[in-house]
């Protein structure tokens, strides 16, 4: 199955959740700034990258994990993906869409806008890293729910 973590810019919350899913950062302690910076695509994607599904890796069950920035598609994103999948006979069991925006706090938003939208990386990056560390518990909850509830339910569905 393809697991698609998505957020506004595909740079922070989706990347962090995907990294935790893949075991690139620990669930048991808050990641250091260096650990976050080492995640592929973390605080890297720009407007022209949005809409491109980026491959993050394969998890222990053989699921492929992706991130994507959906920008202002917002609530249109999921119906769009489900609709296109239906048109092309892609089974709902072949993919899972996970919205990571509920994990995001205002510090991440602020740092993300400074670093990605305004290009003030040296100012925005430390802020977005601090925000991501503060939001660690949200990512743990989300990734746990994906692994223990959503994925098994999807695999058992018809």
């Amino acid at each position: 199955m393809k697991i698609i973590y998505n957020c506004f810019g595909g740079s922070h919350s989706s990347v962090t959740a995907a990294a935790m899913h893949l075991g690139l950062i620990s669930e048991n302690r808050v990641p250091t700034a260096e650990e976050l910076k080492a995640i592929p695509y973390f605080d890297e994607q720009l407007a022209e990258d949005h809409g491109d599904f980026k491959y993050m890796g394969e998890d222990e069950q053989g699921n492929q994990v992706y991130v994507v920035g959906r920008r202002n598609l917002g609530s249109l994103f999921e119906p769009l993906i489900h609709g296109i999948a239906r048109i092309f006979s892609i089974s709902p069991k072949e993919y899972l869409i996970v919205n990571t925006m509920p994990c995001v706090n205002w510090i991440m938003v602020l740092g993300g806008i400074l670093s990605r939208k305004l290009g003030m990386v040296s100012l925005g990056r430390p802020i977005v890293i601090y925000g991501t560390q503060q939001a660690h518990g949200n990512f743990v909850k989300l990734v746990n729910r994906v692994k223990t509830t959503i994925l098994p339910a999807k695999e058992n569905s018809k």
């Binding site: 949005h50 809409g51 599904f53 202002n72 249109l76 119906p79 609709g83 092309f88």
Partner: protein, 154 residues
Amino acid sequence: MKIIYYCHSGVHASVIMAGIHLGLLPETEKIDNAAILALPYFDDRKGNLPGTPLYMGEDEKGNQVYTLAVGNERFLAPKTVRSFLRLFQLDDREVYMVDALKYTAAAMKWGGFLSADWGLKLIGRPLVLAAVKKAYPDYVQQVRRLKQELGYLQ
């Protein structure tokens, strides 16, 4: 092939162009309200979530025609669709995305928003209808160009 016309709402400009494409609307200079309102999904999603591709019909070459709402992301939406298809090794040439926003006036965007999203049909719908009628010859021409490009017209 799937042909997807897209606009802000997925139920206004895109439905008009899909209607012309499928022969549900005439290729004339003028159009009346009744013909527009008779189109499936015009100004009415029929309970579908915005973003869901709406099936309009099959054309003379056996291609399926859809409409789609893209909000303010007229460039990101087609890219997302093609990128998603590539994940499954599907040929993205199997989908032909047509920007129906080229001739869309502000009145259609905001009228459509009021009517289809806010339920203010009394105010929104006349705005949309007036904007459609004004731009109608452009829509006809754009569909004809597309059909030429795809080899429908000799």
